[in-house]
Symmetry: D2
Subunit: 152 residues, 4 copies
């Protein structure tokens, strides 16, 4: 399980639409927050340091999403991030929203590229980020345990 | 061009992220609003009547999105909806965000199913909606002209 | 009525919550878009030019909001902006959401200050913006007619 | 401190605007999530049970907000909820966003009423909710400790 970053999440009123289920664009907001929490957990300076101070970006070039079953207000789910591929200038991730009975609600495959925020041009994955991801993929034993999200 | 529903749109501050470009989940909000405007334009009673009064739903089962180039605050774009396939219980749509130089910013292929909102179960596309879409796909001449969106 | 900037708006599915009515934070998004449309209409270069190129900001220092009656998905409303006070470094605005029977849904009084985006410090209202607002408040006859929003 | 419900929160990329600071409507989303987390913590069945199953609503009738200083992406803050008044059909709350140096970022005073979701009419605060709030305001010793939020 070392390749998966996971956060427990309760579906909020603010995530849901008049049908009482998650408004689907909101899944992408949740997963963007998850990506950010992952970078915070693995990279010194975190996501804000990477984007804000180092002026690097991580725009999406492609995504595919499958919606399997609905999530309702108050549901407790796990939001999962799994690294599928670490390229030279791109990263492929899978996100999943999974119910407490291990039932898959929806999943996303997403390819990100690394860019300079100053000109939005593609760059090699910065060494600090690459190193952090490689360490995430092959941690020394005993790491990755006990991560706990901190959002309301 | 009769198969395309299009609305001019100006990228708003509220659509954009700290990088100054459209926050990607926001594209899906824009396209959901576009879908709604389309149903409003073709169906008696509109989207609110379809969802709210008739208790039908149109959840997404799958989407693919390609992000080609960025859109910035203040950009004038066209949001386009094109019907790709009209099945018995599902509809496939393509959405596009296109700049004023006909440059594609991003596109989405999306498959929706029609459901009853009372049990979230799949149903045949309701006859009124099917008829409205068929009429959209093959309008009598002179229709489809002069549609104008009405959002701030 | 020359002091009021107004845009017709249809309440969207994406604006509404599981109770089927506008999720109240969404009113503030609508009014921010309205502010932007107003600046676009009165100022050369528009809101994006003001914020993005001139590096000026217009943060809020205070607001009061009264919620009178609910707005439901599909409702056609008018979103109104009225200038209450034009100070040396601040602007007070009132926003209203009004139904088609002139029934007030909710209203907001808001005070904005003008700042430099480079240090978030308060500055005098830039001359071009002040001049544009003064012109809006006392237009030559025949102006202000026929404004039409352009959002999906 | 028994009258305050507080959750640590990290300002996310998705909360911020092109100026790199919290887009102000997003504060109201955060505080709505906080209200929900509070009801989850004090009421059997939680917010989803209260809204979804019991068909009660808690719409806002009035709010005032003061914006004191900005919050940036990556900032660690505390989101606080304090009960100001428990009426017969209404509840007054204060929300605060406070930085790690106890610096107030912004605060909101808000009055909610309790309604039936079936007709949106005002009702007496339901006994279970009133009892839960009274217990929150005067807990037996040893409670309220160690609450930990669970959002990404």
């Amino acid at each position: 399980m070392t390749n998966i970053f996971s956060i427990p999440y309760r579906i909020r009123f603010s995530d849901c639409d008049p049908a009482g289920i998650v408004f689907y664009p909101q899944y992408f907001v949740m997963f963007n927050d998850l990506l950010e929490a992952w970078v915070d957990a693995i990279l010194d300076g975190g996501f804000a340091g990477y984007i804000g101070k180092s002026r690097f970006g991580m725009p999406i070039v492609r995504l595919e999403a499958d919606f399997v079953s609905v999530s309702e207000m108050g549901d407790d789910v796990d939001l999962e991030l799994e690294v599928q591929r670490l390229g030279s200038k791109s990263i492929s991730l899978e996100y999943r929203c999974v119910g407490k009975d291990e039932d898959l609600r929806m999943s996303v495959q997403q390819t990100l590229v690394t860019t300079s925020l100053d000109n939005h041009k593609s760059i090699e994955i910065p060494p600090a980020l690459r190193s952090a991801i490689e360490h995430f993929l092959a941690p020394t034993s005993g790491e990755h345990s006990g991560y706990q999200g901190s959002r309301a």
